[in-house]
């Protein structure tokens, strides 16, 4: 019920009703974008932005910088884990008679 799907805004299709055409995994759908439009983010500036679509509404913008930071942190943790695993393997090999 609370699941949403990322999509990219391609065009504004109805300014009056704040409807946009959004590409959601290759399917183009009309989506209401009222929740992401305000004085700082006028309708026209939304084109190209990534949003989270839920029951026909774009509920929020997806922040690309924040997404990258999360992925960078996970990458770093994976790298540290790989280093520890390989050090452990080397130590085990060295300790073997």
């Amino acid at each position: 019920m609370c699941l949403g799907i990322p999509g990219q805004i391609l065009d504004i299709s109805d300014r009056e009703q704040q409807l946009a055409i959004v590409d959601i995994g290759g399917v183009r759908r009309p989506v209401n974008i009222a929740c992401i439009v305000d004085d700082d983010h006028p309708l026209q500036d939304c084109i190209g932005e990534w949003v989270l679509v839920h029951v026909g509404f774009a509920m929020n913008r997806i922040d690309p910088d924040e997404a990258q930071q999360t992925l960078d942190l996970l990458e770093e943790m994976a790298a540290v884990h790989a280093t520890i695993a390989s050090t452990d393997a080397n130590l085990a090999a060295t300790a073997r008679p």
């Binding site: 019920m1 609370c2 699941l3 949403g4 990322p6 990219q8 009703q17 995994g25 209401n32 009222a34 929740c35 992401i36 439009v37 305000d38 990534w50 989270l52 839920h54 029951v55 026909g56 509404f57 509920m59 929020n60 913008r61 997806i62 922040d63 690309p64 924040e66 997404a67 930071q69 999360t70 992925l71 942190l73 996970l74 990458e75 770093e76 943790m77 994976a78 790298a79 540290v80 884990h81 790989a82 520890i84 695993a85």
Partner: protein
């Protein structure tokens, strides 16, 4: 698919799993039993089973499945009310597909439809409004369910109906609120929890701020999480790290979508169109104070509860059904007498088996015998 695939990378999961295992061992040294973390949202429950995450975790960590599936917690009496609306002349009742098979006291919406009621599934509340626009001689009611993720879409649809002067559209409002439900759970002395994975898409609307009460008053750490496997594992790691460091805060894993204060436009629509009910009945959990929305008096012309005469009956849950305890996390689905025997997804007795986000349906579908190997589950998702 962007913002999806990169959060399913099995390589990146390895570092997290290593950290989770280490923290689990550290935390259970002087702790009786596993560390219990509740994922509140049914969407998280579904993802956890779909990607086999539970089987990747060490035995020191136990995930407890919470009450965050709005289909599961809808009481039978409210379903009966929805059917009563649909059975009135000239009415088209609209709702989301996952509500159709939920059993009421006598029948489900799907059975009522088979018997001739005009009940239609819609993808968005805007589709229901479109039906009202196209059928001016009919009354179109939208059976609205969902937490704060879904409530803004119905509120915005009502505002749209008002702008267009549409008078044959109404909302049967059954929207529920996450934080009061968590507070009700935390008041149950039988529930032993160490922390929470917070619902990402509810939080996209309400922000991280409303969970502070969980950390401050109830002393439980919270990490708000996205829905991809890495999101869930990272948030679990964040809760465990808080426990290990003796901290108790609200942390936000899902920063790409959730901020501290939520979405102002969505919150404004909620405040305009809805008001908080004194209490709302949850299936299996009973009455929870201030846990649901009803229509604001300013919008009573769009209120199905004012427009139609409804039975408003309270109907007890099936005696054998343990949905209540399962929704509270005090029982696992396999501990219910009818799980997988009298109660299956094809013939559900309790609502936890109806919705794909229900704990019982998840256990049934991805049960131990059929569960894919963890590494396969992650690899397949790429």
């Amino acid at each position: 698919m962007k913002y999806v695939q990169e959060f399913r990378d099995p390589q990146k999961a390895q570092g997290l799993l290593h950290e989770i295992k280490g923290l689990g061992e550290q935390l259970t040294q002087d702790h009786p039993g596993p560390i219990k973390i509740m994922e509140v949202c049914g969407g998280h429950t579904h993802s956890i089973f779909k990607y086999g995450l539970e089987s990747l975790l060490p035995s020191s960590i136990e995930l407890v499945h919470g009450p965050g599936c709005p289909v599961c917690i809808m009481p039978k009496g409210r379903l009966d009310d929805a059917i009563a609306i649909a059975q009135q002349p000239h009415v088209i009742l609209t709702t989301f597909g996952d509500v159709m098979r939920v059993p009421g006291s006598q029948q489900s919406l799907l059975q009522a439809k088979a018997e001739g009621a005009d009940i239609r599934m819609v993808y968005s509340p805007l589709d229901a409004l479109k039906l009202a626009r196209e059928n001016p001689d009919r009354e179109v009611a939208f059976f609205a369910i969902g937490f704060e993720t879904t409530a803004p879409s119905t509120a915005l649809t009502v505002l749209q109906a008002q702008r267009e002067g549409i008078t044959n559209f109404s909302l049967f409002c059954n929207h529920v609120l996450v934080v009061p439900a968590l507070e009700a759970l935390l008041s149950n002395p039988d529930l032993q929890l160490d922390g929470f994975i917070g619902p990402g898409h509810v939080s996209m609307v309400i922000g991280a701020r409303p969970y502070q009460v969980i950390a401050e008053r109830y002393g439980k750490p919270v990490a708000i999480a996205g829905f991809e496997p890495l999101d869930i594992l990272q948030s679990l790691w964040m809760v465990l790290r808080q426990l290990a460091e003796g901290r108790c805060e609200v942390e936000n894993q899902y920063t790409r979508l959730v901020n501290h204060d939520g979405n102002a436009v969505a919150l404004d629509a909620l405040a305009k169109v809805f008001t908080v009910r004194e209490q709302f009945e949850w299936r299996g959990l009973g009455d929870i104070p201030a846990s649901g929305f009803k229509m604001h008096p300013n919008y009573s012309q769009f209120d199905a509860e004012a427009k139609f005469t409804l039975p408003h009956q309270r109907v007890a849950d099936h005696k054998a059904c343990a949905c209540g305890e399962i929704l509270q996390g005090v029982k696992k689905p396999w501990e219910c007498k009818v799980f997988g025997t009298a109660c299956t997804p094809e013939h559900p007795i309790g609502a936890c088996m109806v919705s794909s986000e229900g704990a019982c349906a998840a256990y049934y579908k991805y049960g131990a015998a059929q569960a894919p190997q963890p590494s396969e589950a992650l690899a397949k998702s790429r």
